[in-house]
């Protein structure tokens, strides 16, 4: 079971993390951040996240600032 922490005001909405996640646990948020971008959102209802940190490696803005496993 893993968990990620997204700094939603740093996210610029490139969604490369959504492309990278092997379990498809990231989606586009419906709430805009303070810059007006729709950030990526982590939704893991069934505790599928393995903490592989693929999303964090692909994030160009270090918006995924912590990954727990």
């Amino acid at each position: 079971m893993g968990r990620i922490v997204i700094d939603k005001d740093v996210c610029k909405g490139c969604y490369l993390c959504i492309k990278a996640c092997p379990k498809k646990l990231l989606k586009i948020s419906s709430e805009p951040n303070q810059h007006g971008d729709f950030p990526a959102e982590f939704v893991d209802k069934n505790n599928e996240c393995t903490g592989c940190a693929a999303c964090a490696m692909n994030c160009p803005d270090v918006a995924i600032k912590e990954v727990y496993r």
Partner: protein
């Protein structure tokens, strides 16, 4: 029990959030460099040389000493700093417009002199900051601001392969080209940069890593499309690989 497996590198400033366009490859490479500096514990012994272009704002992001250089001359400034302070870790961070177009002469001669510095060159096949003009590495047929009908080989020639040319220089100890297209290739890029850092720490010679990066804004693509384009089109012209590694030849 949760364990922290990844966190924002210490070598990045806490509020130094990247100011690049969404999906830009610069952020990934800067993060990898910051992680490596943390891993080698070089934060107090590193001098970074910024260049002109999108790669200019190192001091806004890195919690390191940063010196600026005029356009294309980062390797010259790095040469001077490394010769004065040989115990410091000196790396330059340049774009393709800086290292392969305006400052290619300097890059080549630094490689021929075998200076003990590391150069990271981001190749996004255009001048990103000034609005996407064609650079020396622009692909044949690529549409840029200065080649609106696509680059024509008979008019402006063929793309320059910086890593292959630098690899031919005798002073080069390590030369590789990597692409940051997906998780696997980002890991490979980190290993190549780690090797380039080790080469300098061992004092073996000039280390050069060219990183293919996406420029979604000037390629007029969405970030995910730009990464696909890079994997399918740019990599066929600028193939990835290790072109020189003197540590392997010794074995």
């Amino acid at each position: 029990m949760e364990t922290l497996v990844y966190k924002r590198p210490e070598s990045l400033l806490k509020d130094g959030h990247f100011t690049f366009c969404p999906g830009c490859g610069h952020g990934v490479v800067l993060r990898i460099i910051a992680e490596l500096i943390d891993e080698f514990n070089l934060q107090k012994d590193t001098i970074a040389i910024s260049s002109v272009g999108c790669s200019i704002f190192l001091e806004k992001f890195f919690n390191l000493d940063v010196a600026g250089a005029s356009h294309g001359r980062s390797t010259c400034v790095a040469t001077g700093i490394k010769r004065c302070k040989p115990d410091k870790f000196v790396f330059t961070y340049q774009g393709d417009g800086d290292a392969a177009t305006i400052g290619f002469n300097e890059t080549i001669h630094t490689a021929c002199r075998g200076e003990h510095i590391t150069t990271v060159m981001i190749n996004n096949t255009n001048f990103g900051m000034t609005g996407g003009q064609a650079s020396a590495t622009t692909l044949v047929g690529q549409v840029t601001t200065t080649t609106p009908m696509g680059r024509k080989a008979e008019l402006t020639g063929y793309p320059l392969h910086a890593a292959e040319i630098v690899a031919k220089c005798d002073g080069t100890a390590y030369c590789a080209r990597v692409a940051i297209t997906d998780t696997k290739n980002i890991r490979k890029a980190k290993e190549a940069l780690r090797k380039a850092f080790e080469i300098q720490l061992k004092g073996l010679g000039f280390a050069f890593v060219e990183v293919l990066a996406a420029c979604p804004t000037n390629w007029h693509m969405k970030p995910a499309e730009a990464v696909e384009y890079m994997a399918n089109v740019t990599e066929t012209v600028h193939p990835v690989g290790v072109f020189k590694d003197i540590t392997k030849e010794n074995i």
